[in-house]
Structure formats: structure tokens, C-alpha cells
């Protein structure tokens, strides 16, 4: 079997006495598109945040492309990773946030150039060219010099996607990327993600409330409940024929709301 691109090996996350993720096992193959759904507080966003190293894990190990992320091998045992190791492995991952988190003091193109130039050491001209290409790909070729405050939410989120792609990640994480958008702006962002899925070799992991999109786009859907994967499978199975009682309740509640 080939090495999974991402692997959670019995990963546990606690906040004080509250267990957010309970011994999670999850493997994601290269180029696989996985949608994570579930009620709020089920730990789904925490999965992405741990993978991005924004949250410490309490137990277990996360592997990215076969390498431990927050640990490294030393004399045959795994010890907590140093900054160098962490940054090297983390370089495989990019993330898009619910609230965009663009840098407000930089234009769209500078947002997309900052990390390639200062982290990857790419020459400015090359970074600019590539950033322009990426902004063009997300449909913002005419907005490169605009500042975030001059862009709509949907446009900002597309800049954020371009910014993450500029670092050439192998894995892209999408954390409820349409939840903060007005309904009429959701489509333009989802279209960009669709395009990414079809044109790029990217492993994608998304936490979403867009059930229609998850069903159409994902290869696999994981339903989280109480810090565990309560049910997972192909989208058609999960959405048409959920086996778990919790999944059924959740899906009917979501459908009712829509």
C-alpha cells in the first residue's frame, strides 16, 4: 500500500477536562478529497488546526507524507520536533480560514508574494509573476493591486486561496471557508475549489456545512460526533443511506434548516 498523504495515529486533543478529539485514526491518500461534517463542537475544525500545527496534540502522532509532523526521529525514538523539522514538514500544508485572515496592510498580490519571497526565498520577480497567475486563476486578475478592505468577502477568500497555493502545498485545508460569506458569494469560492480539485494534484481536507458541495466534490465524507468519526464513506452512501443514528439526525436537521 502507498504511504497516505496524511495520517492521524491515535491522536487525542483535550482542553482541560474536555476531550475534543478522542484517539482519532484517519488516513487520507494523496489527491484524495475528504469532507468533514458534523455538529458544532464535534472536533472537526480541531482536526485541521492540529494538522496546521495551530493546536498542540496531547497524544498520538500525525504523519504528513510519511513523516511525523510534531515529532522527529532521534536515536530510534520519536521526540518532540524542533522548529526546523516542524517548518520543513509543515511546508507541505496550506490552509484557508473561515475569516480569510488576509494581511490588511498588503495588496492582494503582495499577500500572495510575502511568504514565497521571505519563506521560500523566491526572487521577487518570479514570485510576482506566479502570484499574478494564481490570482488570475481564482478570477481576480484585475484586482491584484487592491487591498483586502476594497474586496468583497468572496474575493478576499479567493485571494486567501491563491495565497495558500503560492506556497505549493501538497495538502490544502479548508476550514468552513464559505461560512462567513453572504449566500450569493458562496458560489464563486466553491467554483474555485472545484477548479483546484480538477486541475491540480492536491490532497484536500475540508470542514464544511455545504452538504450539496460535499456530496458532489468529495471522494469521502467523514461524519464527526463527540470527538470521533461516527461514520465515514462515499458521499452517496453517507447522504442517501446513513447507517448511524447520529448521522441521520444531523443530516435531517441540516436539510430542514435549508
Amino acid at each position: 500500500m502507498t504511504t497516505p498523504m496524511v495520517k492521524f495515529d491515535k491522536v487525542t486533543k483535550r482542553y482541560g477536562s474536555l476531550t475534543v478529539l478522542d484517539s482519532l485514526d484517519l488516513e487520507i491518500a494523496a489527491n484524495e478529497k475528504v469532507a468533514i461534517i458534523g455538529p458544532s463542537g464535534s472536533g472537526k475544525t480541531t482536526v485541521l488546526r492540529m494538522l496546521m500545527t495551530l493546536e498542540r496534540i496531547n497524544e498520538g502522532i500525525i504523519y504528513v507524507d510519511g513523516e511525523p509532523l510534531t515529532h522527529m526521529e532521534k536515536n530510534g525514538t520519536l521526540v518532540p520536533a524542533d522548529q526546523r523539522h516542524l517548518r520543513r514538514v509543515r511546508g507541505n500544508i496550506g490552509m484557508v480560514f473561515q475569516h480569510f485572515n488576509l494581511f490588511p496592510h498588503m495588496s492582494a498580490i503582495r499577500n500572495c508574494m510575502e511568504a514565497p519571497v521571505n519563506v521560500l526565498g523566491m526572487p521577487k520577480a518570479e514570485a510576482r509573476e506566479r502570484a499574478a497567475e494564481l490570482l488570475d486563476m481564482v478570477g481576480l486578475g484585475d484586482k491584484v493591486d487592491q487591498y483586502p478592505s476594497q474586496l468583497s468577502g468572496g474575493q478576499q477568500q479567493r485571494v486567501a486561496i491563491a495565497r495558500a497555493l503560492a506556497m505549493r502545498p501538497k495538502v490544502m485545508l479548508f476550514d468552513e471557508v464559505t461560512s462567513a460569506l453572504d449566500p450569493e458569494l458562496v458560489g464563486e469560492v466553491l467554483n474555485v475549489i472545484r477548479k483546484l480539485g480538477s486541475e491540480h494534484n492536491l490532497t484536500m481536507l475540508m470542514v464544511t456545512h455545504q452538504m450539496g458541495f460535499a456530496r458532489e466534490f468529495a471522494d469521502r465524507v467523514c461524519f464527526f460526533y463527540g470527538g470521533k468519526i461516527a461514520e465515514e464513506g462515499a458521499p452517496d452512501e453517507i447522504f442517501s443511506n446513513p447507517e448511524n443514528e447520529r448521522t441521520r439526525q444531523f443530516l435531517s436537521a441540516v436539510l430542514e434548516a435549508n
Binding site: 475569516h99 485572515n101 496592510h105 487592491q146
Partner: protein, 242 residues
């Protein structure tokens, strides 16, 4: 708009002051007081530069430094914020020589005031850095930036804008505190005023001119800070007002 009216205000004040002075026989005091004002301005500028440098260093050490540096920063902030500027001035001027360190009065003045205001400034810097939304740090991590890079390129530039108004206050505080240096033999504006007062007893004229001069300098500081704020915020605010 506000900026321009303030600048006009400062100029009007200053010329009105000079006009009144020249009519009412204030004129003889002007050259001497201007000399003093020049010293006051020197100390203010030197003190402000030192204060900003110290504030940045202390805030960074307190927030991100290893333990010994952190303690040093905390000690610096507490000592210089918690004791009187006058005593600090005297300490540097009269106590240090006992340990064999003899400094020029002007150096002592700039050091004492700069260190004093820098201690307050450190908390201003810390507050402004903490006020930058956490999402900005998270985006920096997601782009694999080392912490120092994120701080330098992402966090501090945003914090800088929030810092400007409180720094304006601190600079004006520093300007006013320069009057203390007359007590360590420096001929600043306050010193000159007292000296002239003692020889001429023209109290009303002298201290009115001095008042106007301090006011004019502080308005200049305000104008400068507003101007700084307007350029610093240009990028972020662009489009927001549309």
C-alpha cells in the same frame, strides 16, 4: 482636514505670540527663551528616539524573550514606571558619578527621560501587538513563517498604526517632563525662564511666552503624529471610507 486646521492653529498661535511679544516689550526675552527652547527640543527629540527604541526592545523581550531577558524587561518597566522621573534624573546625575560613571548633563537628561517614557511605551507596544487579531498569527503559521518574520512583516506593521495615538501622548508627556532637567544645570526653556525672572522680575511676560512656546511645540508633535497616522493607515484604510 483636521490635520490642516491643527497646523494652521499652531502657526497662528506662534505668530500671534511673537506679535504680542514684539508689541508689548516682550521682545528682549525672545532670543534667550528661543535658545532655551532649542535645548528643550533637542532633549525631546533625543528622549523620544530612545523611548521608542527602549519600548520596542522591552516589549519584545517581555513578550517573546527567553526567561532572563523577560525578567530584565519586566524589571526595567516596573522600575522606570514606578519611580519618579525627577528621582531617576537625580540618580543618573548625582549617584552614578559615585560609581565612577560621569555623564554629560544633556546625556543624562535624554537617558533619564527616554528610559522613563520608554517604560510606559513598552506597555503601549505590548497592548498594540496583542490587539492584532489572532488570525493574523495563524495565517502566518499557515504560510510557514518563522515567528520573527511574522512579527516583523505582519504583526508589527499592523500594531504600529494602533500605537501612534498613545505614542503622541507619551511624546507630549516627555516634552513637558523636560522642564525637570533645569534642575541638573541644563539651560532649557524652563531654566532660562526662571533665570530671566530672577533678574528682571517680569514674571507675567516671561511665563506667558514660555507657556505659548511649550504649547507650540506640543501642537507640532500632535500634527506630526496625525500625519504619521494618516500615512501609516493609508493601506489598511484604503477603500474603507468609500
Amino acid at each position: 482636514m483636521q490635520l490642516r486646521s491643527l497646523a494652521i492653529c499652531a502657526i497662528v498661535f506662534f505668530t500671534a505670540g511673537l506679535a504680542v511679544a514684539s508689541f508689548a516689550g516682550f521682545r528682549e526675552f525672545i532670543p534667550g527663551l528661543l535658545e532655551g527652547a532649542l535645548v528643550t527640543i533637542q532633549i525631546t527629540i533625543g528622549g523620544c528616539v530612545l523611548a521608542v527604541v527602549m519600548a520596542l526592545l522591552a516589549a519584545m523581550a517581555k513578550m517573546y524573550g527567553p526567561a532572563p531577558l523577560r525578567w530584565l524587561a519586566v524589571a526595567y518597566i516596573e522600575v522606570f514606571r514606578g519611580t519618579s522621573a525627577l528621582v531617576q534624573l537625580f540618580w543618573l546625575f548625582f549617584v552614578l558619578p559615585h560609581f565612577g560613571i560621569l555623564l554629560e548633563p544633556l546625556t543624562v537628561a535624554i537617558a533619564a527621560l527616554g528610559l522613563n517614557v520608554g517604560a510606559y511605551g513598552a506597555e503601549v507596544v505590548r497592548g498594540a501587538v496583542n490587539a492584532v487579531p489572532r488570525g493574523q498569527w495563524e495565517a502566518s503559521v499557515a504560510l510557514n513563517m518563522p515567528r520573527t518574520l511574522a512579527l516583523r512583516r505582519i504583526i508589527l506593521p499592523q500594531a504600529f498604526i494602533a500605537m501612534i495615538p498613545p505614542w503622541g501622548n507619551l511624546f507630549i508627556e516627555l516634552l513637558k517632563a523636560t522642564a525637570l532637567v533645569s534642575l541638573i544645570t541644563i539651560s532649557d526653556l524652563a531654566f532660562k525662564a526662571q533665570q530671566m525672572n530672577q533678574t528682571t522680575f517680569r514674571t507675567i511676560e516671561i511665563f506667558t511666552i514660555v507657556l505659548v512656546m511649550y504649547l507650540a511645540i506640543s501642537i507640532l508633535i500632535t500634527v506630526g503624529m496625525r500625519w504619521l497616522e494618516s500615512i501609516a493607515a493609508r493601506g489598511i484604510a484604503r477603500g474603507r471610507s468609500q
